[in-house]
Symmetry: C2
Subunit: 144 residues, 2 copies
DNA sequence: TTCTCTGCAAAGACTTTGCAGTAGG
DNA sequence: CCTACTGCAAAGTCTTTGCAGAGAA
């Protein structure tokens, strides 16, 4: 698991440690392989490590975020959701404001925007953690 | 205040009422004239209406959101922030992930993306409530 | 008069923190 | 062996809800 190696290096560089709990959480993120809340990740770890605490999940996610191994976004409901950065192709999330469903979308068409923000405002967009609200096809249809 | 009239009509159409508290909150949004948290809006109302309760602020913002009079986004810190939809030109918010500062940016360059999401996924992007994470010019510079 | 709205207080949902014992490097 | 990490419990933060009295239409 190359991700774990990278994580270990990042940790080691700062005098931090690779514990079984951290491995377990990283592994849960891999296996879930989609946006997941801290609670969902926690539930997942419980099968194998029933003593792992949810506060450890939060602390580890915080760490993974710092090292840019996971990104995090907030859904409809205000909860944070996490996913590994490099397992899928880069994408943005489309979050429906009615049904809350989340789609992944390609980022090619975003290029002009990203360049423009860089050029005009010196702002470097985190494409990986972009979350876009709106109406999904189904909810659009339902509204007429 | 045309906004208030629109609000009144929306309310009246559903058998709801325009109360002094709701006026006060709408007025606070106008005068703050920028993204503000429920708490900030609440604080602002306290000068003139010290008995207005924060739960009323939350309930009113919910209502204003339903009528699309305000939009709401979540900043760096997980708090919701609100602003009136039609007082500024349409814009997106650039939220710096380090310093938390929020810039307003023009939306022209976003057009290809919006069309593409519509075409490919049938997803109708809420441009007005788009919040984009990244690094601002200053924080970018500070990182080297 | 009617029924929505408000203030108050309390509960709720999610996340963070303090601490003392545990264990990675 | 040192000090970061964990589980536990408790506290925090922001937001929502229940209720009885107040007040807009």
């Amino acid at each position: 698991m190359s991700c774990e190696q990278g994580f270990f290096k990042s940790l080691h560089g700062k005098g931090l440690r690779l514990t079984p709990q951290r491995k377990e959480i990283l592994s849960a993120l891999h296996e879930l392989d989609q946006l997941a809340t801290a609670e969902e990740i926690f539930q997942y770890t419980q099968r194998k490590s029933p003593h792992l605490d949810i506060s450890t999940v939060y602390r580890t996610l915080e760490l993974l975020k710092k090292f840019q191994i996971v990104t995090c976004l907030q859904g409809n409901d205000g909860q944070y959701r996490y996913e590994l950065v490099h397992t899928h192709a880069p994408h943005v999330h489309l979050v429906c404001r009615l049904c809350g469903r989340v789609l992944e979308a390609a980022i090619d068409s975003l290029e002009p925007f990203v360049s423009c923000m860089q050029g005009q405002y010196g702002f470097q967009v985190d494409v990986n953690s972009l979350s876009v609200g709106g109406l999904c096809r189904e909810c659009c249809a339902r509204m007429r």
